[in-house]
Symmetry: C2
Subunit: 143 residues, 2 copies
């Protein structure tokens, strides 16, 4: 399976968030054989919790599925550059590779997460236009 | 109430983790009136999830209690210097002040969390000996 295939699934998750009027971010955790073991989309407003980011939900589900917090050799696909909370959860769960769609505008975020993820492969800009458009349309409509 | 009062409650939480053979870390969220609105202790092994840190649990409970992810003017007391995941959850939930017991040995952790929490008051070394001893005894017994 190619990276775009999984990022497209993360985009489908992000669109679920959009439908529920949440900031549209989606994430997918994939094991070393290519099986999807965790999916999630942002539910911050629904659950009134900053911890309900797409990546945290996908990681929690993946850990539950394989009955371990160690997600060795797994990859995560997320439509938006992770925040430090999610980057740290990725690093602590020993995920091997991070793929993300669009970057955040905050340069300090990139500096922080690059430090947190310094021993982890990062591939950015997959389906960058689709991921970015979903977010910009959402914020345009909120104004 | 003084800071030691709340840190002692966080220590009581940490001891609950110890009893369940989890790394002994505890946390308490306090609102601006001094009410305890969230408590938590590390449950990483029980729930097999890196997201089950004491601070995340305390923040999630506090948000549920006040029905908002905005914990404006609240403080958090945690027995151990937060990891970047918890520091970012603290920052995103708009907590005003962080009190912690003992520091981590990893200097890079402090650098990262000081960047994440750069606009938030931090008070360290409250009951530092008690918080540190709980952790060092735990790791000594595991060897």
């Amino acid at each position: 399976m190619c990276d775009k295939y999984y990022m497209n699934l993360a985009l489908i998750q992000a669109k679920k968030a959009l439908k529920k009027n949440e900031v549209p971010v989606g994430a997918i955790v994939v094991d070393e054989k290519g099986n999807i073991i965790g999916k999630g989309y942002n539910k911050k407003e629904k659950h009134k919790s900053v911890c309900e980011h797409a990546e945290i939900i996908a990681i929690t589900k993946a850990s539950k599925k394989i009955k371990s917090w160690r997600l060795n050799n797994c990859s995560i696909y997320t439509t938006l550059e992770p925040c430090p909370m999610c980057a740290s959860a990725i690093e602590q769960s020993r995920i091997k590779k991070v793929y993300y769609g669009t970057s955040r505008k905050d340069e300090n975020n990139k500096k922080i997460i690059n430090n947190i993820l310094k021993n982890i492969d990062i591939q950015e800009n997959i389906y960058v236009e689709e991921c970015a458009k979903l977010l910009s349309d959402f914020f345009k409509n909120r104004r």
